[in-house]
Subunit: 395 residues, 2 copies
Amino acid sequence: MFTVTPIEGGVCAPKGFYADGVSAGLKPDGKRDLAFIYSDTLCSVSAIFTTNRFQAAPILHYKRESIDRTNFVLINSKNANAMTGKKGIEDIDKILSHAKSSLKNIKFPVMSSTGVIGVPLPVDKIAKGIDSFDLTKRSPDAAAEAIMTTDSYPKQVAFEVKMESGCSFKIGAMAKGAGMINPAMATMLCFITTDAVLPPNEMHSMLQECSKTTFNAISVDGDTSTNDTVMLLANGKSEIFNKEAFIFALKKVMHELALKIVADGEGATKCVAFKITGAATEDEAAIAAKALSNSLLVKTALYGEDPNWGRIASTIGASGVECDPSKLTITFGNVTVFEKGEILFDAEREDRAAKVMKKDSFSIHCDLGVGSGSFTAYGCDLGYEYVKINADYRT
Amino acid sequence: MFTVTPIEGGVCAPKGFYADGVSAGLKPDGKRDLAFIYSDTLCSVSAIFTTNRFQAAPILHYKRESIDRTNFVLINSKNANAMTGKKGIEDIDKILSHAKSSLKNIKFPVMSSTGVIGVPLPVDKIAKGIDSFDLTKRSPDAAAEAIMTTDSYPKQVAFEVKMESGCSFKIGAMAKGAGMINPAMATMLCFITTDAVLPPNEMHSMLQECSKTTFNAISVDGDTSTNDTVMLLANGKSEIFNKEAFIFALKKVMHELALKIVADGEGATKCVAFKITGAATEDEAAIAAKALSNSLLVKTALYGEDPNWGRIASTIGASGVECDPSKLTITFGNVTVFEKGEILFDAEREDRAAKVMKKDSFSIHCDLGVGSGSFTAYGCDLGYEYVKINADYRT
């Protein structure tokens, strides 16, 4: 038994963690663009990365170094350091050795980047930014702000997990992500800190297990970036080791951040849960749910607050999963519009379904009626703002 | 040897074919919404249909009747007769038997529909429309107009194919489609007429072969509808049988209509050829090319006329095909911006690439450098108009 309570402090909530964000001049408007997370004790670290074949330099560097512990993570926004070849990795070597000499007690530093693809890192600017770091600072808000790109607000969560004994551990996290979010992998950066004691060899599978129904269940535009990273840092300072409680808390952290990312989807005005039940298998449920969250026709209908259930049906039919109109039931919120082949969608139900769609957040539930597989994917609508944001992102 | 010459006349260009479009009151603005194609001789017919599991009633009806010849095709817009269950098929039975009694000499009539999903057909309106048909009319423009939904213009082509002997056959076609166009299948309606002599048992494979690089290579929004149909009608009246010449002409007809559909993509301002070469296999080339034509981030960058080659690279990397940055070359028009791992994208090339992107039509060529597979997919940009058109399509 354990209790989980939301707390303040983001990545600095767990014992021994420090963070800050500064302006290193990468963002032309002088906003924060360079962050660090520091732990005064060496952490076990594990990360899951994008499935994109063109993984960015920071990911290649992390893998080359076979990182399994660290006390310092450097993160920049505005530049992804992707498609930058050997030079991209050499630039990280330069930056991180500068960090080691400029700051004290930095061990096995790692770097993470997000922003425009295909532009070399401004090494000197970043080095100067590092020189301005104060590792005794606990400014999680500044750090969360510094890793933002098209995000409209910083994304942080933290929980205290209290055991029956009265002892507790803490888990905190920050994330960025508002577009290029694809269910193939949590397309974003996310850094999770904890003072729980974690067996290093199990951290990776914990991350993978928890990402399935959280970061891997969300979609903004179906694109998978070159830089996606979810990193977990554990310094063990709470001296608490309880795997069940930790996984529960980790999933909660990842779920809340996932929903924050969808809600902040570029130009999004609503967050929708696409719930599939009765699929032949759980995998087929996930395919159908993600097809809905990725369909442009569904996303524009959401934007128009139009209960166009035909597009929902058509998208499920096109997804390739086992289905049959005579077994399918479609429900907007609590309004069933199509039930096992019968069209219930009349003026009264259309009216009620349209009301459901006016909400900021609601569910669309499709029961396929062919098995017992279920999955819920989360997505958002697509409106003019998305086009505006993405038509000229680089400038 | 044969020569192929563009001619007027759309589906009425080949001998013995008649067509017209009338207003049956399905479109609220009184525009044409009901068309027929009639041949004064019985035709061999073959069709390929959507891969969507929820095939619309007209497709189910066609299959139930095991249609292999006909002299009358009825097409309505504004209502897809999809997800309408048994009633949808019964409605077609009613309508087509009405046609048989109202018009003379109708044999094995077939129906095709496009429009909103999940609304029963207005049987009486359509019956009245049929009563107004004049089967001696040759009004291909009116027919092509009547099958439009969100299309901004009717789409027709016709060719005369002259053999060395001086004899010739003709092929004509009309199509509708401007959205819900997905490479999984030509998501649209297309009716092709010819007076060539075709072996009935080879018509299906001819359609399939020609669709691979034409209708199956285009994308507007990655959605696959419930009604997609490409139908080929051959009445043999020219008495010409030349398989090679016919396949050449068929592919040309389908290619031209495919490009017309992309160019008329909902809200599209440009038509882009995504050319992949050097892929491990032709299938992988097609996967990468279609990933580009479907990527929201690529499509919005096209709209913004932004030569954001990083998104091109990232999309290829995310598509799952074999690739390696050090072997990849990316070229906008004739401007190479990334060559085998080296970023050539400087201010001068950015300027030139941006100029390429201002054109109505251009190519983006990616050589993956890992094999000899190649494929070209065609797509369009995505702008505000797409959102506007699709946010409230039903009303």
